[in-house]
């Protein structure tokens, strides 16, 4: 279900609606500044190359933020309890990306109702640049 509002609306195997995007150099710079990340590598191609990189890179934290948005776009009532990401490859601005996810587990206890998701950011060639997981709390039907 797209936009589930309750725990019962979710099934294992449900795919989160993907986000397709291409970040601009300005968006990357803006995020790095907002996130207090002073590294030149996030600011411009020139500064990144001075650090020995092929060009400006997207901070890993920005990928993590996209994972968070993927979840709350899917279910605005979802509360992210845990979020993890492994940064497997450099992500660059002006590179078409797809962020996607799938529900892998549901469990409920006296602590609440929780959903586990796998998350991925892939290049347009299908290379997995960022992989991660999320534990999300979604309330039961009222």
């Amino acid at each position: 279900m797209t936009n589930p509002t309750a725990f019962e609306d979710v099934d294992v195997g449900d795919e989160l609606p993907p986000i397709h995007l291409t970040l601009t150099p300005e968006q990357v710079k803006r995020y790095a500044e907002a996130a207090n990340m002073p590294g030149g590598r996030f600011m411009s191609d020139e500064l990144a190359k001075a650090e020995g990189l092929p060009g400006q890179i997207v901070p890993g934290n920005f990928s993590l933020a996209l994972f968070s948005r993927l979840i709350t776009d899917w279910s605005p009532r979802a509360k992210v309890m845990r979020l993890s990401a492994t940064f497997r490859g450099l992500v660059h601005p002006e590179q078409p990306l797809t962020a996607s996810g799938v529900v892998t587990e549901k469990h409920s206890s006296d602590q609440g109702e929780f959903i586990e998701c796998d998350l991925v950011i892939e290049s347009d060639a299908g290379d997995r640049l960022v992989t991660g997981t999320a534990t999300v709390r979604l309330p039961p039907q009222e």
Binding site: A34, A35, L64, L83, A85
Partner: protein, 144 residues
């Protein structure tokens, strides 16, 4: 220069920072920069505004890693963010006075596409003015 896998730093605290109160302006700027769409992070009034879960990564302490890390481990200065794990507690709201305490959580070595790398996991615990846990962040740094 072969790295020295000296684990004596594990458990050591290298930063304790008390941040000025969180502003609505910074929450909204972070959310907009992170391409958030949820109104509770962007257009809600100040009393109801809530920072996105990853906002906590913007809390950069006085020391990002132990000052003597490169010397102890005998590695270069070049580091990359290899991964993050955030355990989210209570949400961050306008006016919150947050404190971050960081320790070295783990040190190990492995090889990958870019060669031999030393990984250092830095754990940061963030609490608010009521002593509530806001986040526990494990930051995995890859150093060469």
């Amino acid at each position: 220069m072969a790295p020295k896998l000296d684990k004596s730093l594990i458990g050591s605290e290298f930063d304790h920072t008390e941040f000025p109160p969180v502003t609505a302006e910074h929450i909204r700027e972070y959310a907009a920069a992170a391409l958030e769409t949820n109104p509770r992070h962007l257009t809600a009034n100040d009393a109801e505004l809530v920072a996105p879960p990853t906002y906590v990564v913007s809390l950069r302490g006085r020391h990002f890693m132990p000052a003597n890390l490169q010397t102890v481990l005998n590695i270069g200065r070049r580091g990359f963010d290899a991964g993050k794990d955030i355990e989210c507690g209570v949400p961050v709201r306008v006016g919150d006075a947050l404190t971050a305490t960081s320790t070295v959580h783990d040190i190990y070595e492995k090889t990958g596409r870019s060669g031999s790398m030393v990984f250092v996991v830095l754990r940061t615990k963030i609490t608010n003015q009521r002593g509530e846990s806001v986040a526990v962040i494990d930051q995995k740094m890859m150093l060469r």
